[in-house]
Amino acid sequence: MESDELFINMGPVHPSTHGVARFKLRMDGESIKECTPVIGYLHRGTEKIGEMKTYLQFIPYTDRLDYIAAFPNNYAYVKAVEELAGIEVPLRAEYIRVLTMELNRIVNHIVSIGSLLMDLGAATMIMWGFRERENALQLFEMLCGARMTFNYIKPGGVREDIPDGFIPKLNEFIKDMEKRIVDYEQLINGNEIFHMRMKNIGVISGKDAVNYGWTGPTLRGSGVDYDLRKYEPYSIYPDLDFKVCVRKEGDSYARFIVRMDEMKESLHILRQVVDNMPATKLISMAEYGISPMTGTPTAVSTYFPRIFTPPAGEVYSRIEAPKGELGFYVVSDGTTKPYRVKIRSPSFCNLTAIPSLVKGLKIGDLIAAFGTIDVVLGDVDR
């Protein structure tokens, strides 16, 4: 039956666009004929800021890219700078970095799943998720003094060693989280309505996903067994035992399940990190007299001069952030400031596929598919 087309402007102020994404929809009744994403409402010129700040000053700005999971952003930039300047990092610092990043991956997936379920109308999951997220944020606050924008990982190490009483609290969190994940699975995984909404919706084949430049859990949901932690290992990941969670279906449900499984894997990694962390004497700031960034190496940070000039050169370094492959292209001209900083943000590249993903589906499916791609608009718009 032919009917008039309806144009709907979804966003930038809309309950389920996760911030300020906007979709121009051409609708035939309830079905989407064409979807055009419009982004840029949160553009802050982070790459330009990167050219104007010193290497150390830019780190707090990377926190603001993907504000749900900021540790990997810190680390991706710092890793690029370290590769550029050839800085050695103490092993303990690497362990702490991996600890924070995996904890942050859990936080990210909790928020992702929670907001997906909230978009589908079940608000309970996000509240339960935020309950556990709060515990993780408490750990972050204990570790680096901030809850979301950390500025913790520095070239040459981390800002401060882990405080007393952190590891017991972390163990408690891991134990608690294991039980909570069982709750989540009971609530969601078997739910028939959830299956109806997610299965065979927003299907994308592995080949197409690669062609669109998808990475991270979204790609692994399409059957491509790829994880940078495993296949281009960095930091201490070669020493850790974990498996890459892959699902073949390529639909919304597969992407959701991959995130669920990754949370469990991250808990597994956390346990290993806690067990194997090299013990060194804890040197607190107060004990040391002066802070580590003033140029003196500590247990968790190598020498890092206050006026830092890496040799001229360019580097592209990527890590497996919770949302996918996060890369920093840093060009140095030998001065105190980078010549060019390019950010390859996973959310931006994953969002590319949305128009073809939702073609012919309903509005509700657009929301489900958008939720499973898991974008943060700070990461998309930069």
């Binding site: 809309h14 739910n191 109806m196």
Partner: protein, 382 residues
């Protein structure tokens, strides 16, 4: 002793009017008042005053219930989600609905520039008044009924069919695409779920042979074998499930809240409403929740009848109207709690899935149920 006589069936009242007249007579003030009115030839005026008084009492009761329900909804959601819910205004936040009302009255009443002003203003009234009118033939307890219509059930279904018109008016007049889509969804949903609702109700009518709600309740008093209450839920398990699902759809609550579908259509058909007009939609929604739950109780859970009451000592028989009212309210709240509990557990369906289930599963099953009931009835099993 008169109350005892009343309970044992010696004196029956058709409705609350007669109960009030009886009580006034019992106290001994009815005749003097009647004489005063008769002096001026205004007997009908007394009748009107009494009826108006009982309607006023009903409306106050409904409004208080609705206010309580908004509080209860928030508390139940909070309990599920490991929160406190409203806590500040009044004891455990009990006065929160009052504060909400005060806030909404104080809000600016915005009418969009391109809205159809008359229809826009009329719609909230048109949805609010039928939500209250439904209660006219509902028996709240022994003799506690405004009017025992002999077509009571038909009246209820007919009155609740007005609300789609009001929703469509609100959605159309708002001149907002989200509102219009919400309205169209709501109408499609209401129409497709009123049919299984009515079919399931007709099965009950077959059992009682009457459309009068009082007859339906009376038919459910007493027990089988002394311990199973004679509720129609045991004779009509399938009918009960169908009726419950259809009534949750009628209420427009998750998993069937398409008229609102917050994360898809912002707020559905009342997106553009503010202030008291919004409050009327809000109150109507909860009045609807209460009335539909009350209908479920009336049809399938024995209404106000209490199965084991005949064993109560005669000295307490005075309390029986109150006990029956309490039984009715408790049963209704069980159904309401179930609706709230379900809302916190399941996500929303998709509109095409909802209609599919309505037309392809619910209606055939309801027809099958009706057929089975008719055959068993003819065979003399019931």
């Amino acid at each position: 002793m008169l109350f005892l006589a009343m309970w044992t069936g010696d004196i029956m009242f058709e409705n609350t009017y007669e109960l009030i007249v009886f009580i006034l007579n019992f106290i001994g003030i009815y005749d003097p008042i009647y004489n005063v009115f008769e002096m001026f030839g205004l007997e009908y005026l007394l009748r009107i005053i009494i009826v108006l008084a009982e309607i006023a009492a009903l409306f106050v009761f409904i409004l208080l219930t609705v206010m309580f329900l908004t509080w209860m909804e928030r508390k139940v959601v909070a309990m599920v989600q490991a929160r406190y819910g409203p806590m500040v205004t009044g004891p455990r936040g009990l006065l929160q609905p009052v504060m909400d009302g005060v806030k909404l009255i104080g809000k600016e009443d915005i009418i969009p520039a391109k809205a159809d002003r008359w229809v826009f203003t009329l719609a909230p009234f048109l949805i609010f008044i039928p939500a209250l009118l439904v209660f006219i033939p509902l028996p709240f307890g022994e003799s506690l009924i405004i009017s025992d219509l002999n077509v009571g059930l038909l009246y209820i279904i007919a009155i609740s069919a007005i609300s789609p018109i009001a929703i469509l008016m609100a959605g159309w007049a708002s001149n907002n695409k989200y509102s219009l889509m919400g309205a169209i969804r709501a109408v499609a949903q209401d129409i497709s779920y009123t049919i299984p609702l009515a079919l399931a109700a007709i099965s009950v009518v077959l059992l009682t042979g009457s459309l009068s709600t009082v007859d339906i309740v009376t038919a459910q008093s007493g027990t089988w074998f002394g311990f199973i209450p004679k509720w129609f839920i045991f004779l009509q398990p399938l009918g009960f499930i169908l009726f419950l699902i259809a009534s949750i759809a009628e209420m427009g609550r998750i998993p069937f809240d398409f008229q609102e579908s917050e994360s898809e259509l912002v707020a559905g058909f009342f997106t553009e409403y503010s202030g008291m007009k919004f409050a009327m939609f809000f109150l109507a929604e909860y009045a609807h929740l209460f009335s539909v739950s009350a209908i479920v109780v009336t049809l399938f859970l024995g209404g106000w009848s209490v199965p084991f009451l005949s064993s109560i000592p005669a000295t307490f028989a005075v309390l029986i109207p109150i006990i029956s009212l309490a039984a009715f309210v408790i049963k209704t709240y069980v159904i309401i709690f179930f609706a709230m509990w379900l809302r916190d557990t399941v996500p929303r369906m998709r509109i095409d899935q909802l209609l599919n289930i309505g037309w392809k599963i619910m209606i055939p099953l309801a027809l099958l149920n009706l057929l089975a009931t008719a055959i068993l009835l003819t065979a003399g099993v019931f």
